[in-house]
């Protein structure tokens, strides 16, 4: 399987990453791409910028572990995960997950699985700026809840 995992300060091009994963292959039927983008609001409050701190080394290891777990759960032909760190402003790309499979259910499930685990298990921390003030973002119960569904259920459509 084609696996790409990158942590980087620089922006990425989601379309180019999709094309790179699929390019020249004829066995892939479904590609699901998730782009996470810096929003100008969070819980009703304006956000002017955001800084993402990460744990170098562990972030790569933790993402690789979850990509391997996704591979063991679904028949995947390729996975790309790119997560940025550093300061971003609204409209900037934060994270990209691309999954490729022969069938759409596997590609969708794997992309959701990876995003739920990036949110709750990958060592990244967001610090938001609201005008002059800045604060660390609290973890969301809804993200923990989303991640837990993957341990409760079996793989594939069985999880629904």
């Amino acid at each position: 399987m084609a696996v790409t995992i990158r942590l980087q300060r620089e922006d990425f091009d989601a379309g180019a990453e999709m094309a790179r994963l699929v390019g020249g292959r004829t066995d892939i039927g479904a590609v699901v791409t998730f782009s996470g983008i810096c929003r100008d609001h969070e819980d009703g409050r304006g956000v002017t910028a955001m800084t993402l701190e990460h744990y170098p080394g562990m972030a790569e290891d933790e993402i690789a572990r979850h990509v391997a777990e996704a591979q063991s759960r679904w028949p995947l032909q390729g996975v790309t995960v790119i997560h940025r760190y550093g300061r971003m402003t609204p409209g900037d790309n934060i994270v990209l997950v691309v999954t490729a499979s022969a069938h759409r259910d596997a590609a969708f499930a794997a992309a959701e699985f990876l995003m739920d685990f990036l949110k709750t298990r990958a060592p990244f921390w967001k610090r938001e700026e609201h005008g002059g003030a800045a604060s660390w973002v609290d973890a969301k119960e809804s993200d923990d809840h989303a991640a837990r569904r993957w341990t409760a259920a079996t793989s594939g459509r069985g999880r629904r």
Binding site: G36, L52, E53, H54, Y55, G57, M58, A59, D61, E62, H83, I94, V95, M115, L118, K119, T120, R121, A122, P123, F124, W125, K126, R127, W136, V137, D138, A139, K140, D143
Partner: protein, 83 residues
Amino acid sequence: MKLLYFAWVRERVGKADEDVSPPAGIRTVGELMDWLAGRGEEYAYAFENRKVIRAAIDHTHVRPDTPIADAREIAFFPPMTGG
């Protein structure tokens, strides 16, 4: 062993990393947090709500009852908010 701190744990402790040699009686991650909390005001503040602090040994998430004996690098941080 090397300790790493991230996000507001790092800010409260006032440093990103340090080398420590805890006494022999400190056997688990939880005991290490207790010991750290007693090292001064900034540590007491960082570890005041120990239940929300997560830990990793050598890049793997661990629980408070995990032994620290073979750890090279132990990290403490708040719940993660990536993605």
